[in-house]
């Protein structure tokens, strides 16, 4: 008898505690992040401080941009995300399909502090760019003494068997690198033949990979000495102990924005807007540059000289970077993917 009454009171207390906890349940915001080191920094710079500041819970779904877009499409009538991050220009495709919501400049307190290109397109649903990667050439400083100066240097016979290309069909940085090579070879967004010819020319003596860890692997094994890829990745490789440096070729580096976007139909619009505002503040911009060498997009982000030398610092410098018409990319990507897959297929 005694045992069962103690048991009942324990159960009753537990039930009350659960009910009480449920009564003050926190609001939840669902976002995506890109996993690994990136997600870790993301949490440090934005997610955890946001949770503490507004006393909410942020649920993070680890998914690359392409998977996130696929999920948004599938969830069109009942979105499970409130805020999504896209890299690689997929926000344009998403906005065109009505999956993202427009934002008024007045709704973001940090709006005036952003570079102008970073907030262009808010009215069409394209969220602000909170940091950007720069695509150029990575090279092994020990094996290559004269830094490459041009995109065309990839054909240099000295780099035979040591060129590493990234699959343009599955990797956005690979695609942007390819578009730049195409432009240098005389092509345009409407005609990618010159680019494909260039790639086919160096294909027999180069390796093609599709995921960024494979790039690290190939550099570490000495299989690759030179690769078109992103500036932030050069930092990742140097942190891993590899003698790799990033250089912006004379024809220009490519801008690769990473955006934070408001999902259309979310039930938590106000909270989502606060999160977006929080993501673009100067402190976060600075943090991304310091942690991973992403180029800041907030005018008030002040970087030390060392960090500034490893990113593209200042609005003027950033405006010199090459950009490609995102709408055209979204439209033509499937045909490019096919043409690319055909060109590299064995």
């Amino acid at each position: 008898m005694k045992r069962s009454s103690i048991l009942t009171s324990v159960i009753g207390a537990a039930a009350l505690a659960a009910l009480a906890h449920g009564a003050v349940a926190q609001e939840t915001l669902t976002i995506n992040s890109f996993g690994g080191d990136y997600e870790k920094i993301h949490r440090e710079l934005v997610i955890t401080p946001f949770e503490e500041m507004y006393n909410v819970k942020v649920e993070v779904v680890t998914a690359y941009s392409a998977d996130t877009l696929a999920q948004l499409r599938a969830q069109k009538d009942n979105p499970q995300f409130d805020v999504v991050h896209f890299s690689g220009g997929l926000e344009h495709a998403a906005a065109a399909e009505g999956l993202l919501s427009p934002i008024e400049p007045g709704e973001l307190t940090n709006y005036e502090h952003m570079y102008s290109f970073a907030v262009a397109g808010l009215d069409r649903g394209i969220g602000p760019t909170y940091s950007t990667a720069v695509i150029g050439i990575l090279y092994n400083t020990e094996k290559i003494s004269d830094a490459p100066t041009s995109w065309k240097d990839l054909t240099d016979a000295a780099y035979h068997d040591r060129v590493l290309l990234t699959d343009a069909a599955s990797n956005t940085y690979g695609m942007l690198g390819f578009l730049m090579i195409n432009q240098v070879a005389g092509g345009s967004l409407d005609d990618v033949e010159p680019g494909l010819e260039f790639v086919k020319g160096i294909l027999p003596t180069s390796t093609v990979v599709s995921k960024s860890p494979e790039i690290q692997q190939n550099f570490a094994q000495g299989n690759a000495w030179i690769a078109p890829y992103a500036q932030d990745y050069a930092y990742t490789l140097t942190k891993a102990g590899l003698p790799v440096k990033f250089v912006q070729p004379e024809e220009g580096g490519v801008l690769a924005p990473i955006t934070v976007n408001l999902v259309a139909g979310t039930g938590k619009r106000d909270l989502a807007l606060k999160f977006i505002d929080f993501s673009i503040r100067a402190e976060a911009s600075k943090g991304w540059a310091e942690a991973l060498r992403y180029t800041p997009t907030n005018k008030n982000a002040e970087l030390s000289d060392e960090v500034a030398s490893q990113v593209v610092y200042g609005e003027e410098e950033v405006s010199k970077l090459v950009t490609f018409d995102a709408e055209k990319i979204a439209e033509k990507r499937p045909s490019w993917n096919e043409a690319w897959s055909r060109a590299i297929a064995q």
């Binding site: 392409a66 998977d67 877009l69 696929a70 499409r73 495709a93 065109a96 699959d167 069909a169 599955s170 390796t207 093609v208 990979v209 599709s210 692997q217 094994q221 299989n223 439209e331 990507r333 499937p334 993917n337 096919e338 897959s341 055909r342 590299i344 297929a345 064995q346």
Partner: protein, 284 residues
């Protein structure tokens, strides 16, 4: 008794229904939806009915090449698994309990490791300057380092490693049912070791071999993680193409058409195979 007969039919149906319902919702409906998607356009504008996806696959020699490679590799993998798996199964069947357990554990161990770790293992062995290359160089068979990564041979090796257990274990099931007395009888009658296996053991293990090889074939046709990690992005297999269409190009209609074609060709190969082997093997 009539009431007894009716009750016997109802109970199995009730027991089966949760499983059937699950299969219906989780498998049948999505498969039908995929079939429907293969006839629709995707992308800009509203979806409408079209046969263009199928036309593209048939007319375009690129995808025909990808399909050919997929099936060719699957056949090679199945053949290798049969050649290696049958003797292995016979040995395991006759082995003592300790050796038997040890061999089975060795066989299954690769299945228990994550595919990414396994692939990195293969990179170390097959990669440029890897163990295989080093050994061949030491033996003087080659003079510069080779790499089997990003080759079809590499894909076959990596796939056989994980699919062999399936064949061996199903064959073991068949072998276990063969009475030892049969083999002993054939030996007593004068058949040598190999003749005995060829005339007695092999025909009786056909059901196990058939279902094992079907499993291996179906798994190698549809696999894409190992081929894409070991074979690289330049050696496309059908499952890789489908994945790329669905998540890279977002052309769900075309990806669905590729999936349907993969299924149809697989069925066209498997069904005759099942008919032939069930006749040859009979019921063990």
């Amino acid at each position: 008794m009539p009431s007894g007969a009716v009750r016997l039919k109802r109970e199995p149906a009730i027991l089966l229904s949760p499983g059937l319902l699950f299969l219906l919702l989780a498998f049948f409906f999505p498969a039908v939806q995929l079939l429907a998607q293969s006839f629709l356009t995707f992308g800009a504008g509203p979806s409408h009915f079209t046969l263009e996806h199928y036309a593209k696959v048939i007319v375009d020699d690129f995808y025909a090449g990808v399909a050919l490679r997929t099936f060719r590799l699957a056949l090679i993998i199945t053949a290798l698994c049969l050649l290696m798996g049958f003797p292995l199964a016979v040995v395991i069947n006759r082995a003592g309990p300790v050796l038997r357990t040890a061999l089975i554990v060795l066989l299954i161990l690769p299945l228990m490791t994550s595919v990414v770790i396994r692939t990195f293992g293969w990179l170390v062995i097959l990669g440029p300057g890897g163990v295989l290359s080093w050994t061949l160089q030491q033996l003087g068979l080659i003079d510069r380092s080779i790499s089997l990564m990003h080759t079809e041979a590499g894909i076959v090796i990596a796939m056989v490693q994980v699919l062999l257990p399936f064949l061996v274990l199903t064959t073991l099931g068949s072998l276990g049912q063969i009475p030892a007395a049969l083999e002993e009888a054939s030996r007593v009658m004068g058949a040598g070791f190999f003749r005995s296996i060829y005339h007695v053991t092999l025909p009786l293990s056909v059901p196990g071999l058939a279902s094992g090889s079907l499993l291996v074939f179906a798994l190698s046709i549809s696999s894409f993680i190992t081929p894409s990690l070991v074979g690289g992005v330049r050696l496309q297999v059908m499952a890789g193409s489908i994945y790329q269409q669905m998540t890279g190009s977002f052309d769900w209609g075309f990806g669905a058409a590729l999936s349907v074609i993969l299924l149809v060709i697989t069925l066209m190969l498997i069904i005759p195979y099942m008919v032939v082997t069930s006749r040859a093997g009979g019921r063990a």
